[in-house]
Symmetry: C2
Subunit: 219 residues, 2 copies
């Protein structure tokens, strides 16, 4: 049994290492947009293979532990949560790569008027990601619930960004391709926030055994 | 043990029922776009709650079977595949709802020139979804591999649609909001195809015990 406890700790350690990589990828992707910095963008692309590799390792490890130790109750919930969080992290990594591709495309075009709401959206999404992972580390249901409550603010910021970009495009069609790149970045940030929400839901299930998917009331 | 075999069969039956609902939602969403038919769109919205409800039930059932019977090897692979396929189906249902929302928005605007590539993209994506689910039912690795090979064709069609829509927007800015709705529909179809690919990968893992994620060679 001590072996099993150690194996679970090792699994959690690897998941947090992966989380660190993905958080850093998101942060670099967002900075590469704001600073038009190709080197930052390239760094994200360079780390993608490692994230993908870690996902497979962690998934294999969790499934092996399920088969080997056939855990019950809380340990079973931990392993199923680990499998889901791992998959969410990998997708967040993919979305950071999408952002970087649009960022590189933007660097090849003249700069557009800065958007007020984009840095705010990026900050909010990064904070949701960080809090969702922190709630996992600390098994903190309160923190996980906070993440779920940020969802509406993300939608509002995304809508404001879209409205502003549509008015740019209508006023000057030469901005269309740049505006589409920026819309894609906002959309990818929104999807990263969705995955942070998934992680927070998994944490609530892990801590409380409560299923909060599909907005089955959040108090 | 006979109880366990029956429970697995029941789980597979429920998963296929959910698959049927999601396939029908995708089909109706696509038709509502082509035919500008609000009744079809409303039907998709009406069924959304049922899909969400089924996802939770199936997930609970699979996790309970894991805990209760602590299966090994192939049965363990089946249960983990069922958990993943269930989650992919639920997201596909969400994406069909996204398509329907854009479809309703398009109905409130004048019709745009028909796009040649959109019906072709829709047909390809629907066929990928169907084949991925069929490969699951028949445990057919060959069929699953076919789905993985359709990915490039989806990308090409999506790119062609985007190019056409960008040229519409540049030529006539009054088409911008309609073109954005159509881009969103193409993007949602592409994401449905991604989930069909995930399912095909899970089937290969289930049938062969081979992990083909991240393009670790497909023969």
């Amino acid at each position: 049994m001590r072996q099993f406890v150690e194996a679970l700790e090792e699994l959690q350690g690897r998941l947090l290492e992966m989380a660190g990589l993905v958080e850093s990828a998101i942060h670099l992707s967002v900075r590469s947009v704001a600073e038009r910095d190709e080197a930052l963008a390239r760094e994200v692309l360079k780390n993608e293979a490692r994230v993908n590799h870690m996902e497979i390792e962690i998934d294999d490890c969790a499934v092996r532990l399920l088969a080997l130790y056939q855990p019950m109750a809380r340990d079973l919930r931990f392993l199923t949560a680990a499998i889901k969080i791992n998959s969410d992290l990998e997708r967040m990594g993919d979305l950071a790569v999408n952002i970087v591709e649009r960022s590189l495309s933007l660097m090849r075009q003249p700069a557009i008027n800065p958007l007020i709401d984009m840095p705010q959206l990026a900050r909010l999404v990064e904070s949701m990601v960080h809090r969702s992972l922190d709630s996992f580390v600390k098994r903190d249901a309160g923190l996980a619930r906070e993440v779920l409550l940020s969802d509406d603010a993300v939608d509002d910021l995304r809508d404001a960004i879209f409205q502003e970009l549509i008015s740019f495009m209508q006023a000057d069609p030469s901005t269309i391709t740049r505006a589409l790149d920026l819309m894609s970045i906002a959309r990818n940030l929104e999807r990263i926030a969705d995955h942070a929400t998934n992680i927070a839901e998994d944490v609530l299930f892990l801590v409380q055994g409560v299923d909060v998917r599909h907005h089955a009331e959040i108090q």
